[in-house]
Subunit: 503 residues, 2 copies
Amino acid sequence: MTNLTAPPTVRARRLKLLTQHDAIVLMHEDCAVCRSEGHAPRAQVMLSAGGREVMATLYQIGNGLVAPGEAGLSEAAWQRLGLDDGDEILIRHPPALESLSNVRRRIHGRRLDAGAMTGIVRDVAAGRYTDVHLSAFLTACSALPLDAEEVIHLTRAMVDVGERLEWGADVVVDKHSVGGLPGNRTTPLVVAIVAAQGLVIPKTSSRAITSPAGTADTMETLTNVALDLPLMRRVVEQEGGCLAWGGAVQLSPADDVLIRIERVLDIDTVGQLVASVLSKKIAAGSTHVVLDIPVGPTAKVRSDDEAATVSASLTAVAEACGLKVVCLQTDGGQPVGRGIGPALEARDVLAVLQGAPEAPADLRRRACRIAGAALELAGRCEPGQGTAAAEETLRDGRAWRKFVAICEAQGGLKTPPRSTVSRPLLARHAGRVSGVNNRTLARLAKLAGAPDDKAAGVELHVRLGDEVAAGEPLLTVHAEAPGELAYALDYAGANPEMISVEA
Amino acid sequence: MTNLTAPPTVRARRLKLLTQHDAIVLMHEDCAVCRSEGHAPRAQVMLSAGGREVMATLYQIGNGLVAPGEAGLSEAAWQRLGLDDGDEILIRHPPALESLSNVRRRIHGRRLDAGAMTGIVRDVAAGRYTDVHLSAFLTACSALPLDAEEVIHLTRAMVDVGERLEWGADVVVDKHSVGGLPGNRTTPLVVAIVAAQGLVIPKTSSRAITSPAGTADTMETLTNVALDLPLMRRVVEQEGGCLAWGGAVQLSPADDVLIRIERVLDIDTVGQLVASVLSKKIAAGSTHVVLDIPVGPTAKVRSDDEAATVSASLTAVAEACGLKVVCLQTDGGQPVGRGIGPALEARDVLAVLQGAPEAPADLRRRACRIAGAALELAGRCEPGQGTAAAEETLRDGRAWRKFVAICEAQGGLKTPPRSTVSRPLLARHAGRVSGVNNRTLARLAKLAGAPDDKAAGVELHVRLGDEVAAGEPLLTVHAEAPGELAYALDYAGANPEMISVEA
């Protein structure tokens, strides 16, 4: 007889099954629990143990990997439940998701109010939506784009379902760049300058997701970035700023879930971008934020009109959420600095901080403009004086000393690694550099091994408008293995438009 | 060095991993092929062997289930590739899906022309879309519903990417009911009548997906329904009709993929319903089709307006595709006949065919109306004469003899099984039956074990408007195990509104 009250338990078994975020449970095909509860293969089930729960996809296997009465779990499910081998877990039918009715209403053109949005975002953050549901929600919010009110609801809901940091300061500075520009590694410079000016800037950054380097990847070649919250607090208390990897603190977890699906769909609406950026900043406890919006034909934002739309929405939603922001439209026509890849970008950053003669001027200029805007926004400088103050902080060595102090507090300053193999790409003919493609250059750096191989990437020798002679190196590909170098060079040979030279 | 030309092969290993349709490949976490090719966990990969290919999700496992250089496959992937253990398979990055750009355009409000729709449907049928992509396509076509042209494009594309049967007859009759009404088992009766009248009606039916019985489930209690195409042709040549399970012939495979996602989303737009129904009929080689549209508060179509919209779209798209159809709006206010469940419905069908005194009159009437409409549509009867001709075919035993002949040709007529345990549900008080809920009754039959337990289900003793005494049986629940009977009765006790009695 089926027991109608208590769902039966099974023994947990760790399979070392790597699935990224997919929670999967494997059961024996003759398992009595599956039969009595009516769990068919590919059913969604709710696993629970020790007060934690996770939605998982159930598959059945007949080859003896798991015994009847056992549940073999993927690492994602194992970690989220915090299990030990042999622990008892409950397997139930998942509860009906009330919030899905609001997703269906949204598909049919109805707007979402604050309560409906919160219900959806809470279930998203809790991992209760399958890919089918997540995709439907995002598609519906793209087919009929989120209106201004909905973006505010979404932003607030994403903050509400995660952790929210507090820093005990009235002014907490932050910056964000709306992606897509290789080598745009201003963050370490801005943090050093702003903290040297006495402001609080507890910066968390991401690792690369689709790009050849994220700020966390670059900083990892210089110091320890895997700070837990207590260490992050100590560093910020002592130095005013930090340069930490954001993965260790759970800010806006719903955003992480949604971004994964947006990437698969390759749809990226303004409303979702705004909610994603601002929710992370609010959750990080920031009060004053400078937003860098690079515009260029191969950048994420491609036109001045698009930049104006994004800026207007960011500003309006930030205001509604009590956040002070300034949007800077910047040149996104070509990569910033010389290096593309973690260690190569770190070297550009060090050169600027140390005032080295070869330091890339464009990276320095951008960092000073952003840091200057932050100093003005936070009331540290009069309007129009920020950039000069930032320049001065760099010139007199205060920013460099602050950067060293932050790295020391995080665990010590390191020297970035150098590649073991490299090869230049030469101009086929003389002429003027007339085009530089951010996307293909980023792809080249990734094929060379970035960001996993820290020293891998691309070193640019020319910029838009430069005159080159035939046979002159346009760039150098750096790698850590001959195979990857060959693979990258093969791609470069097939994509000569990545740097166009007009005869 | 990475070999840039030929992708490396791995040895196939059958895991007996049951995932329904999910193609999954498990590789060792230290597999050199994954490393050199850059296949990370949860990557989509293209598997190929012997000229066949399948898109699969790759997971990595560290516990020795598969060795480095091996690829462990789910049954879905194994069957589609037609493998033997140890076969070499290729694992590659999947090709870029051009058709996704049209899905993105559709999300942003652009209409799909015939070429764009065909590209999408071809990739869907080939299993190249992930759940994220499928959900986005369906959501986009619901948020901005398919227009008349798009439904035609979708219908034709779904036919084009699958098999299409031909019967060598100018008139090939078919029928379809727009689901949702328990016990509405007219198909065996219609086939017997229409074939007895000398028309060709090669009927393929589905098994239950969310309902307690599909026509294939019911017919399986009476004869063999798993006909391959040669046997199906022999039966139809000999008897004019057949009653086969459609799963053995691949008609409109894209529809099967899309329906799975629509069910998860629980969205069901008119355009998708029309394309789904008509593509299956065209692919089956039908030329004249009667469509039964039950309307009622707990049926799939809930109002006359909705029925009119569905009818208009079915008629317009059928005409554009060269198919002659007639739509019959029928009463969907309560289940049809007495039985709900495979064997119980089979007994109703037999009673009608044999002219038994206890035969349910409503089932007989509906079948004659549909068969009559088919006889008129196919030109076998004058307008207005069809129903009477159908009645006559039943009354004089021709339909019964034809049914027996079809079953014999398919492998022999069987007697439907009887349940081993059953229990009546009694009226709590005297009164008039004022409401019968199709949805809760269907659920009750499923909890009792239908359709897997062929004899399980619900036997109704009353109909809307009947007067009942206190303690009189309203229905009997049939099951094959006491546990399931208890489970079903528990549900019935908690849902007294499934049959409302007004005092």
